[in-house]
Amino acid sequence: MLSDTLEHYVLLSALIFTIGGVGFLVRRNVLVQLMSIELMLNSVNLLLVAFNRVHGETMSGQVFAFFIIAVAAAEVAVGLAIILSYYRLKSTVYTDEADLMRH
């Protein structure tokens, strides 16, 4: 059952992506939301590498995953800086308090 096929990787990737998406939508702690975004990015990386293993004549999938890792690192740096700035403003990390632009 646990054989090593592409479909298992797709299934695992879909599950991790769904967990990340639900975490992003349900949790109110902005740090946990950022971690959920990381989960989604990681699942996409897994999918890219798995498909590159099937089409092994080129390395494009792994190069794409490499760039996703680079962009994710930049995203985390900027995201955590925004969280620190937000915490300085509101003294909380909960997104319920971020209602400045609510009309």
């Binding site: 592409l6 479909e7 989960l39 293993r53 494009s60 490499f66 890792i69």
Partner: protein, 217 residues
């Protein structure tokens, strides 16, 4: 069950357990540890998928830098990062989230079952053998620096801009907010509070008289 299948099972279980811990933990430090578990599991899967270079990058960048950055910020915020949110909307949103997850997993299982349903294992895409250098530093680097050189340079520019932006956003604004004391006459040197933060605060040794009244003329 071969050793490869065992590795896949272990890494998949680690990934799923870590992901569920990440989104369900009340203490964000535990969430960060769950994220670390997921990242290490995915690194193991990369190893199984013959992506040795990406395994190293995953461990260095994610486990070494991103998770440490998360833990840094969590430690910086201290207890405020885990204060429970007491909002009335928490219950329904959790139900919606759980329902969404159930529906998505059901869909994924049905689609996976559709692939195996008729022909047993024959419907599944098995991995073929690949060249010996697949996923090595040399193979990825050759592709990266031939076809992807422009994107590579753009990524380095993006990282520089992101770091500068992070510094600009997270920098404390104390220097620009602090009011400059305007001195027009020598009297002003001794009038008013010494520091803006003492403006509304009475001096203890002065009988509770606020400092502001001294220089209010």
């Amino acid at each position: 069950m071969s050793a490869g299948d065992l590795l896949f099972g272990l890494c998949a279980v680690a990934c799923l357990a870590g992901a569920i811990t990440t989104v369900s933990a009340q203490n964000p430090i535990r969430g960060a540890m769950g994220l670390l578990t997921t990242i290490i599991g995915i690194a193991g899967l990369f190893l199984k998928l013959r992506a040795e270079f990406l395994t190293a990058i995953q461990l260095i960048v994610y486990a070494g830098a991103v998770v440490v950055l998360f833990v840094f910020v969590l430690m910086l915020l201290g207890a405020d990062a885990r204060a429970p949110a007491r909002s009335g909307r928490s219950g329904p949103s959790r139900a919606i989230g759980g329902g969404l997850f159930a529906v998505m997993s059901l869909l994924a299982l049905i689609s996976a079952g559709g692939a195996t349903g008729e022909g047993g294992q024959s419907g599944l895409t098995r991995f073929r053998a690949v060249s010996a250098g697949h996923g090595s530093v040399e193979a990825v680097g050759t592709e990266l620096f031939s076809k992807g050189i422009f994107a590579f340079e753009l990524a380095s520019a993006l990282l520089i801009v992101a770091v500068i932006g992070a510094i600009a956003v997270a920098r404390s604004r104390q220097g620009s907010v602090r009011a400059k004391k305007v001195i027009r006459s020598p009297r002003d040197l001794f009038a008013g509070p010494v520091h803006p933060r003492d403006a509304g605060r009475p001096l203890a040794s002065d009988g509770g008289r606020p400092l502001r009244s001294e220089g209010a003329e």
